[in-house]
């Protein structure tokens, strides 16, 4: 398997160490409890393991087998084969954090290119080398704001239409700090400008999402200006695919942009590993958490890259670090870098438009089904709320009988929204799937 020593090897090695038997290696451990008998099976061969895992996986119904309109933070997008071909290179995946830059320029240059792409996409000055996912990047934005004001500003304004899982993560992360988190109990149908009256001199940061959790687009410039008047930061969470088409949050004046990077070539994989995008203005670079690659030269005059501004980090600053983050999402950041390189400017624009048109077609068609409606007022990208004539949970159950994942039931997070279904449409949904969804709704709810 993965160890190579024969019995004879082990004996000779023990002799070099000056011991007689393997047990002697563990002589300083307490005798009581040593070498427990684990209640686990014996090992199996690769053939058997592959069979077993195949078998387990067969109990899952995939988004290839089902027709899926599920989004709500994770999106079913096409991943070009070249992305995984690069990820499967052992030079990338079996290396670790590039502590020795002379033999890690592959990883370091990829991080540098990733930072460049994320900065370009979001319109911000600098991006870090990643956080764990969208939720933790938002929580780190709040953490950064809190520390930027050295804990003197203790109010955090959070929009009710920031992804509920991200809001929950903010609460967990900031639980030990003496903070007041407000805004979440506003009507989810309200406008981001309704947050303005909550912003005061004590406000450290305002957190919003664009497109928001309900899929809607709002101009955030009034909100941002109001926050800046009170010297509060504004953090905007984005869907990176949408930025192929939409104005980046920098144009609204955002101080921090976070994002869930999963749509950028990362498989759904039941929720992870995903990718936390994090970008900010140059003036906050020393407050930002996470690793950073910077350009430099080597002793031979070659351009190269190193991890830089390490004095922000836990291995140097320990309890005074900007965050405890160490391992991040290296390989997933690489996936998004390869993905964005492949799509490039033209591909990402095409993709964003394709998503937009398909989602709007779906919204329009669903609205033609009696009893179903989509709010026509607010612009959206590739996700929208469908008002159903019966509880959304029932609609989903009915659709599942037709092998359709209908969408996300908003009542799970917003108790008042019993009849609302959050529907996402991507390039993976051909017109025939949208028409099928509409036909099933018509068939099931025709009276």
């Amino acid at each position: 398997m993965y160890t190579s020593h024969t019995k004879a090897d082990k004996e000779e090695m023990l002799k070099v160490i000056g011991l007689e038997k393997i047990e002697d290696l563990f002589q300083c451990l307490p005798d009581e409890g040593k070498f427990p008998t684990l209640d686990l099976p014996e090992g199996i061969t690769e053939m058997e393991a592959m069979d077993e895992l195949q078998y387990i996986s067969s109990f899952n119904e995939t988004t290839q087998e089902l027709v899926s309109f599920l989004g709500a933070g994770a999106y079913n997008h096409f991943v070009p084969a070249a992305v995984d071909a690069i990820l499967q290179r052992g030079e990338f995946y079996s290396a670790y954090t590039p502590y020795q830059p002379e033999i890690a320029q592959g990883t370091l240059q990829a991080i540098f290119e990733y930072q460049s792409l994320v900065a370009a996409l979001t319109g911000m000055d600098v991006a870090n080398a990643s956080h764990y996912d969208g939720a933790t990047s938002v929580a780190e934005a709040v953490n950064m704001a809190y520390h930027t004001f050295r804990g003197r500003k203790t109010r955090i304004v959070v929009s009710p239409t920031v992804n509920p899982q991200y809001r929950a993560t903010i609460h967990t992360y900031m639980d030990g700090m003496d903070l007041e988190i407000v805004g979440e109990d506003l009507d989810p149908n309200s406008n981001p400008d309704d947050l303005i009256e909550l912003i005061d001199e004590n406000t450290a940061i305002v957190v919003v999402q664009y497109p928001d959790f309900l899929g809607r687009l709002f101009d955030l410039s009034t909100l941002t200006a109001a926050a800046h008047e009170h010297k509060a930061l504004v953090s905007v969470h984005i869907n990176p695919i949408s930025l192929g088409l939409l104005k980046p949050p920098s144009e609204f004046g955002a101080d921090i942009v976070t994002g869930e990077g999963q749509p950028l070539g990362i498989s759904l994989s039941y929720g992870g590993p995903y990718l936390g995008l994090f970008a900010t203005k140059q003036k906050y670079v020393r407050k930002m958490a996470g690793r950073l690659a910077g350009e430099t030269v080597d002793t031979r005059g070659q351009r190269g890259y190193v991890l830089t501004l390490n004095t922000r980090e836990q291995h140097i600053r320990r309890e005074n670090a900007t965050s405890n983050i160490c391992t991040n999402q290296g390989l997933i950041a690489l996936a998004s870098t390869v993905y964005l390189s492949l799509l490039g400017k033209n591909g990402l624009q095409d993709l964003a438009k394709l998503n937009y048109h398909k989602a709007h077609y779906a919204a329009e068609q669903i609205s033609t089904v009696p009893g179903f409606s989509v709010n026509p007022v607010q612009p959206f990208f590739n996700e929208f709320v469908v008002q159903c004539p019966v509880p959304a949970e029932e609609v989903n159950q009915t659709l599942l009988e037709h092998d359709i994942l209908g969408g996300y039931e908003l009542s799970k997070d917003y108790p008042g929204m019993t009849h609302e279904l959050l529907v996402a449409v991507t390039e993976m949904n051909p017109k025939s799937e949208i028409d099928f969804l509409v036909a099933v709704l018509e068939e099931e709810y025709h009276d």
Partner: protein, 489 residues
Amino acid sequence: MTEKTIFELSRPGRKGVRYPAPDVPLAELPEEFLREELPLVEMAENEVVRHFTNISQLNHAVDIGFYPLGSCTMKYNPKINEATARLPGFSQIHPLQPVETVQGALGLMYETQQWLGEISGYDAVSLQPAAGAHGELTGVLIIRAYHNDRGDSKRTKILVPDSAHGTNPASSAMSGMTMVEIPSDKNGNIDIDLLKAECDDTLAGLMITNPNTLGLFDENIVEACQLVHDSGGLVYGDGANMNALLGIYKPAEFGIDVMHFNLHKTFSTPHGGGGPGSGPVGVTEELADFLPDPVVAMISEGDQESPAFYDLVTPEKTIGRVKSFHGHFGVVVRAFTYMLSLGKDGLLDASISAVLNANYIQALVKDVYHIPYERLCMHEFVTEARWEDAPGIRALDISKRIIDFGFHPPTNYFPLIVREALMIEPTETETRETLDAFADALLQIADEAKNNPEILHNAPTKAPFGRLDEVKAAKELILKTQLPEDYGK
């Protein structure tokens, strides 16, 4: 060897992926929200593949050669793990699917929780945390929630040994606790007398790593846990060094109440050039209710007619969510594949071989390299890389010279309590020939340090790059490609 960046390779009009033309009527675009410029790259697919292949070859990696990076457990990453994680039944499922459509995934997660629990002695396990440091934060928040739940909110002090990973004090600070450092004693164990002095009614807990970061088994562990418990505190175990203990000892038996695992260290999942990791947390029964939301529960046991049924449940007094969805599922599939492949016999052999290998290298070099705490080590050991007759030679020089032999250097300058530290962790997946070659290289380098120090100062010479100017990087702070003004317009 400098490779152009993707921005330098970009030419207007190229693209590497095409999408089908819209098969639906076009909708009106939202004029007021449209972006004017998108300064991304434009490349054909073959250029992208060639670029990333070329830069990949500038890396050292486990698949290329020995990688004894202490505390990181750079063991071989079995290829089957990559294959199983990519099975469509695992990679193509949405995290919000109805649980009845993902029983395979939930069953696998449940089994992984059970395996980790059995290996470590814990009653409940959460797979949510994304990495080791994230597991630490989760663990400290659990300790905090436990005390608060008992109305004992004055307990805000966390003790951390001076040999601890930097993430330990950073995690305790993030949770709002006050950190107090506890020095090590002359044998490299936690200093019991100093610990005792801090055990009062403000003590929330002790964070401890065992084996510790000196690679030594902390012989005071049971007594330390007892002291902390007697004063009403809890003990957190940093499981980064669990590769020494599989089938050897269950950390719960030491008295550790909550511990994280690093699936990317102990359980062979790839380090990915810096991640993704996975940092599941195991706890004793009295802490199970505080685990992060959600955990996987078996709702009904299977029988001959129907399989078991699993669901995601929220622990009663949960500290809340620590991230989106249910943890790094793709990493969990790899770790589960590994555990299943090895079984209890293979897991035990992994730890035995890891400890044997570390002691073997230590024995081969200890007459030349000073070992500050000369004892049997566990899965790694630390040397003080300096000699009186080699002034001006630092651990960094030795590390850079090791590169010339085709090996990745050990971790250097950690732990902080050893001067010029080199921390060597061979792992179990290396042959005796590799260990011998590495020891020979260390001995040769020690000789060069004394007799021909310039070789060390100039190293590496055989790597694609010489030493890089870190001061310049920090001063100039070029953190992204500098684009021309009109780029992307």
